[in-house]
């Protein structure tokens, strides 16, 4: 057998994929979604709080946010998940039994929050000081000005980077595996990995990748679409002039050079 066809078989063996498909659809996909969606929600909310704390002038907010971010971003995800999963397991056992998901989601959220916090912070800090002045001169409190004027502008600027983190989260959801999963709790990657381990063929892993793509590509494009809509106010038929080399957002209409 020539090397190329061996390679092909290793990653693109349709039979292996077909075999793994039903389990991925019925078990892996829902589990990945549960983990990723809950952690994305919780992580984004926590991330926003961290971002706000991180730009506060009160060092009693700024420093804890900094330390939190440094630690949860710096430690290997596996170690964090283990620390939380093992450390809080006795507590978790009493509250919801041996299910590793609640603690797994908690750990994933705490990690994601550290990253998302930095993304939001960079967006918010990039909004001109004049905007805050404008809002405060109208009589808005600092909090309202942030919420209504600064944060919305800041977040929009970093939506693509935020999507990065959501995608990373979808993939990191496979790390709950460190807490021990029964067969029905395995998510996409784990199922792919198990097939790879039992057959020695990586096609199921690639199939998991295709599932990821089926989740992440639409996510990216939906957010990009929202992004564009927010930038331009209402749906505009974006000019697509191949002879023009510039497409900055908010660029004046007409054709520019």
């Amino acid at each position: 057998m020539d090397p190329l066809s061996t390679l092909w078989e290793t990653f693109f063996d349709w039979d292996s994929m077909r075999e793994a498909l039903p389990e991925m659809l019925t078990v892996g996909l829902p589990n990945t979604l549960i983990l990723a969606v809950s952690a994305a929600l919780l992580g984004s909310v926590l991330g926003m709080l961290l971002a706000i704390a991180g730009i506060s002038r009160t060092r009693w907010l700024r420093w804890p946010a900094r330390v939190y971010t440094d630690i949860f971003r710096g430690l290997p995800a596996a170690a964090t998940i283990l620390l939380i999963g093992v450390g809080l397991a006795p507590l978790g056992m009493q509250v919801w039994g041996p299910d590793p998901y609640p603690l797994g989601i908690l750990a994933l959220s705490l990690i994601a929050a550290a990253y998302i916090g930095e993304i939001f912070r960079s967006g918010i800090q990039s909004v001109e000081a004049a905007q805050l002045e404008g809002a405060r001169a109208l009589g808005f409190s600092w909090g309202e000005a942030m919420r209504l004027v600064i944060v919305p502008q800041g977040i929009r600027r970093v939506l693509p980077a935020w999507v990065n983190q959501l995608i990373a989260l979808i993939k990191d959801s496979s790390l709950v595996y460190f807490l021990g999963l029964v067969a029905s709790q395995r998510e996409l990657f784990r199922i792919g990995q198990d097939y790879a381990a039992t057959t020695g063929n990586e096609s199921a892993l690639l199939l998991a990748g295709l599932f990821y793509l089926a989740l992440t590509v639409p996510l990216t494009h939906i957010v990009n679409w929202i992004d564009r809509r927010l930038r331009h106010g209402r749906p505009t038929t974006a000019p697509d002039d191949d002879d023009l080399d510039l497409a900055l957002p908010g660029a004046l209409g007409g054709s520019q050079r």
């Binding site: 397991a89 041996p98 021990g180 999963l181 029964v182 395995r186 057959t199």
Partner: protein, 263 residues
């Protein structure tokens, strides 16, 4: 790789580097395969080193993840896979196996206060296994719906935290863990593993496979196999039905006596 006759002569086994046997293994699965003091060791790896020496090859070990091991063997990134790989039908589709060289006992570890005393009592219990191991195969085959963890530490953590009722471990690991647990974990039962383990080769790499099979018989005959058994699995008897290698050579006696625990 080219196919000129001088190549053939210099590199009769079609190795990546003539004279060097590149072996894919794991770094974190003692006592079978692991890394200690910067050296790859463990029963399987030491045996492989001895066998390779018989055909004039130096072994270079590389550690990887089990899920990536066999595919890289098959794609000839590694000449051989050495990681207590149990021979299964599914894996035979991807790689070829040499002759079996080892067997295993399962140990059943439970928390100190547990009422479980044998493998028969596991139905409906939360049983933990390390993913992709023979124990995993066994538990899954028995419909035990095991909790899978990535490594032994994960399993021990589960028992200690009380999130699992029992752990099916390789017997030696189970014993050691129970001993190290300050009385929190005890060994409840033992069982002989059904399938032998073997080295994996790329499909069609028959020259190397056959040469190593022959070398394996030689290291069994010269007592290396028995010595390594005694070194890594002290006190573990060889079960009656098991014959390592081609089965045509006699096994010299192990240097130490067998323990009665294995009944």
């Amino acid at each position: 790789g080219g196919g000129t006759s001088s190549d053939q002569a210099a590199n009769p086994y079609g190795l990546l580097q003539p004279g060097v046997l590149r072996a894919g293994t794991l770094t974190d699965a003692p006592p079978n395969v692991y890394l200690k003091d910067g050296r790859f060791t463990g029963f399987d790896n030491d045996l492989l080193t001895a066998a390779a020496a018989k055909i004039g090859l130096r072994v270079e070990f590389v550690g990887t993840d089990f899920s990536a091991l066999l595919s890289q063997v098959n794609n000839r990134k590694f000449d051989v896979g050495s990681s207590s790989i149990t021979i299964t039908e599914a894996r035979r589709k991807t790689v070829d196996f040499g002759n079996g060289y080892d067997f295993g006992y399962f140990g059943l570890d439970v928390p100190a206060g547990s009422s479980i005393t044998s493998f028969d009592q596991l139905t409906g219990k939360r049983v933990v296994v390390v993913q992709g191991t023979v124990q995993d195969d066994y538990a899954t085959g028995k419909q035990l719906n095991p909790v899978r963890v990535p490594d032994y530490n994960g399993a021990i953590n589960q028992l200690k935290a009380g999130t699992a009722d029992a752990w099916i471990a390789p017997a030696e690991i189970g014993d050691a863990s129970a001993a190290d647990s300050n009385g929190k974990i005890k060994v409840a039962d033992r069982l002989l593993s059904p399938a032998p383990t073997a080295y994996a080769f790329a499909k069609g790499n028959d020259a190397l496979r056959e040469a190593l099979n022959k070398a394996l018989d030689e290291v069994i005959a010269d007592g290396t196999w028995s010595r390594l058994q005694a070194q890594y699995y002290p006190g573990r008897p060889v079960p009656a039905g098991f014959t390592p290698g081609s089965g045509t050579v006699a096994i010299p006696a192990a240097p130490t006596a067998s323990a009665s625990a294995y009944s």
